[in-house]
Assembly symmetry: C2
Homo-oligomer: 150 residues x 2
DNA sequence: CACGATGAGTTCCTTAAGGGAACTCTAAAT
DNA sequence: ATTTAGAGTTCCCTTAAGGAACTCATCGTG
């Protein structure tokens, strides 16, 4: 399976997928985010192949969203999110919101999010960074930007 | 490559990935969103294999995010977003925001978004659906929800 | 009416990625 | 000296992605 390289496309979606678009990568980030930071923890939690987990972790480190560091004098390592990685958690929260809405079924959402600022169980909503009003698919026009393909 | 089924996991991220987690799927949604709604248009724009495009479109239709409908008396079809699919565009906009921030480089973002409400070039920001304050990775606590795995 | 063009897929072959089990390596702890 | 545990490697098998060629239905044109 020779996979097409998304990183070279003039598209920020493709470039983001180049970092976390492979199967498992978002789930690995989630695990690290919730505190499962060690190889065997992640492997056991996800049931992912150890080979693939190694590949994914290295890819995420190469792209600067995870850091690997020893936590013992023995050869033991843990993975942590960089700032670049922490901002990817935004993406995970939007995935959660969509999955909760469309795929949770009668059982309801598997995880709840309590917002520090208001203390309520809530979910994310997309707002315009400029004016603060809701900003969804139908609220925008697309224009070519400076980095557009020629 | 026998792929693990994400749809059965008690995790809304995994369930969302079950719908659009395969390579190319988000880019197909983007194309349909921006008005490339026909098979050959999408194929040419992305450079995706026709075989894989067929598989992806069928998968997205099965999961109710795309609809296929004839636009001619000849056997010609176009794909459109359902409401379920339109809400996935939120996810794309967050991918764009991250890609613009971390991967656009000196050339700047390839596409700009003008917000209808304020008329400004902007990007999305995550807010609490309840109180409207910013809601990012470090602003939430996670609690088990009603649909949590036993 | 025959003929080519067009959109929308299929088919088939090659290559490489995911799954999974077994194996290795290093440094404690007993 | 032996066991244990974490963190990977290695190897084989299956299956998915790439890609080019092929099919099929219908319309427009000469």
């Amino acid at each position: 399976m020779q996979r097409t390289n998304f990183g070279d496309m003039a598209c920020s979606i493709a470039r983001t997928l180049d970092v976390i678009g492979e199967p498992w990568s978002p789930l690995i980030l989630r695990d690290v985010f919730v505190g499962l930071t060690r190889f065997d923890q992640i492997q056991a939690d996800l049931g992912i192949s150890r080979k693939v987990l190694t590949e994914r972790l290295n890819h995420l480190i190469e792209h600067g969203v995870l850091e690997r560091r020893p936590y013992d004098r023995r050869p033991r390592y843990e993975y942590t999110l960089t700032e670049k990685g922490r901002e990817l958690v935004d993406l995970l929260m939007v995935m959660v919101a969509w999955g909760d809405t469309w795929r949770a079924g009668k059982a309801g959402p598997p995880v709840l999010y309590r917002h520090h600022a208001c203390g309520e169980i809530s979910s994310v909503d997309l707002r315009c960074a400029h004016c603060g009003e809701p900003m969804h698919a139908n609220d925008v026009d697309l224009l070519p930007g400076p980095g557009a393909a020629t």
